[in-house]
Symmetry: C2
Subunit: 339 residues, 2 copies
């Protein structure tokens, strides 16, 4: 029965990204309004940096998932999905600012990163402001279930980032450890976004769990693809510096898988390519060629596709609707963007 | 009547810092236990850095104020004062880690700062963890008044820090603008600490407001003294790099006051001393001599002492008790430490 439903759900998941955006346009405009208001402050560097970030665009994946999750859960009257979308997006924006400091990134969303333009100090402090602002909105929500979920996800996110730091140049890291890191640093907040949609929509426990699991799997797939794009992406459409993980010696799945598959002699070469300081583009090209040879890029992408397929199955408990088609399509979009 | 009571309160405020510590020792040990548990994480860099910070000691001013505020408000059964003390201390610890990144500080609490030992990345991310952990504890409290107060203070703190950034090397900043910054970046969290004591103690609105105002004024005095110590302190007892504000061209009251009082010709010299890149200790000594000559150090200290005197008057609404004596003595300690 469940398998049959899942098949149906897969056939109806055929909305383009633009069609999905069109479906939630009105809500997303409200999200942008509340976000803009959240960026206001007498400390002028805050609106300056946040509108710069905002102007550069962003997919608003988390708000879109939250809004659609609330809709498939039956939420139709009120603006709680808008406010909560802003809560998760503010946390995400804060982590982007801090990530760029941590990664010494120079490009974000196709433009010079904020830390490049205004310095690390400003990025750290404006990030803290966004975190605090998010918790202030959360406090105004007065929903202890949501408050607990968001703060737990925010803690996991920070832990995931710290765990990620410790993997730099560490070839002992296993695929399981990597999966734990991406679950924490990316999937937990995306999972919470979907779960909040269920909570504001007053969905059953079963549906709430289904949406949380859907978000978790989509989140894992999202990060897997992000990590592949760091090796194979096009800088313009990816909007971030390519090769940054490589440059920072971060162990992500394409590299972990390559290292596992390569024979002893080649393992040594891989370590040298990652750890040496020679010409970066040359080292990166050699490494990507090896990843292709050992099918490590496809290995990571297949894993992402499997997670998306599993994610979509979670939503069999929901009735068909344009919003359901849209959220399933969003899951597909996560693995089809710019590979 | 109020003046008379205030005079009585000033006479009874005569506990030494050690006696105050002894009075709250049991509670503070519980605070340390909960803090230690809060520092645990599978991401090993988190317990490593936090226990390093913890080992270096700290005055725990905010927890002590919160605990004593709860006691004078009549709170005696339960551990809510302990949990809430940890909430504010975790936010404080997070800002210390981030501040050191922002200020490129090399010494904190008399030891090499965490960013010096583990890099800026770790300090940013572990700071984020502590922030999140604080909000997770806050969520478990399920008290919307406390949640709103803490998140509002946390937002003000970040705004104050950002405003402070924008004053670097800006001789146009007025004393009022400076006071606004220190109110936001320091006094708001100290005020909230005292206010939470009143909330957990179920104090009247009047007493809650009195404790919030007490904390606000003590917080302002604390920062005024901190800013003076940056010019005149002893590195060992101050526990921080001396001359850091000067080095970062931060406008604090001793400098603002000096610049206001100095005649036009000397204003130029002051600007040169602050903005030039010559030998730092020589420039700093000349500037401190000028501050002494124009009585700017005393001006800032007198202002701090006045704030403490005003703060103590707020507590006339509370009955006499050892805890009241202790909290009034703590206020005095703020302006008497290592000047």
């Amino acid at each position: 029965m469940q398998t049959c439903q899942a098949t149906i759900k897969e056939t109806i998941a055929s909305m383009t990204f633009d069609e999905t955006c069109a479906l939630v346009r009105e809500d997303m405009e409200k999200v942008e309004e509340v976000l803009s208001r959240s960026f206001q402050s007498d400390a002028l560097l805050i609106p300056t940096i946040t509108s710069y970030l905002n102007g550069a665009g962003g997919k608003r994946l988390r708000p879109m998932l939250l809004v659609l999750s609330s809709k498939i859960s039956g939420y139709s009257n009120g603006n709680r999905h808008i406010l909560n979308s802003c809560i998760v997006e503010l946390i995400h924006a804060a982590t982007l600012l801090h990530d760029d400091v941590v990664d010494e990134a120079h490009i974000r969303r196709g433009n010079p990163s904020a830390n490049r333009k205004w310095g690390n100090e400003a990025s750290v402090l404006v990030g803290d402001f966004l975190f605090s602002k998010s918790f202030l909105l959360l406090a105004s929500e007065e929903n202890s279930k949501i408050t607990k979920s968001v703060s737990a996800a925010s803690k996991e996110l920070a832990e995931g980032e710290v765990l990620g730091l410790a993997t730099k140049g560490n070839f002992d890291i296993s695929e399981d450890e990597y999966m734990e890191i991406i679950y924490k640093k990316t999937a937990s907040l995306i999972s919470v976004s979907c779960r909040i949609g269920a909570i504001v929509g007053n969905a059953s426990q079963e549906k709430e769990r289904a949406l949380a699991d859907f978000g978790l799997k989509v989140g894992i797939a999202f990060q897997l693809v992000d990590d592949v794009l760091d090796y194979t992406g096009n800088q313009k459409s990816f909007g971030k510096t390519i090769g940054l993980d490589f440059q920072k010696k971060k162990m992500t799945l394409p590299l972990i898988n390559l290292f596992q598959k390569a024979p002893a002699k080649e393992k040594k070469k891989i370590e040298e390519l990652v750890l040496s300081n020679g010409d970066m583009s040359c080292r990166l090209k050699t490494l990507v060629d090896m990843m292709k040879h050992y099918d490590s890029i496809n290995y990571a992408l297949d894993k992402a596709r499997n997670y998306v397929a599993e994610a979509k199955k979670e939503l069999v408990v929901f009735d068909e609707s344009p919003s359901l088609t849209a959220i399933l399509s969003l899951a597909d979009y996560v693995v089809s963007r710019d590979i």
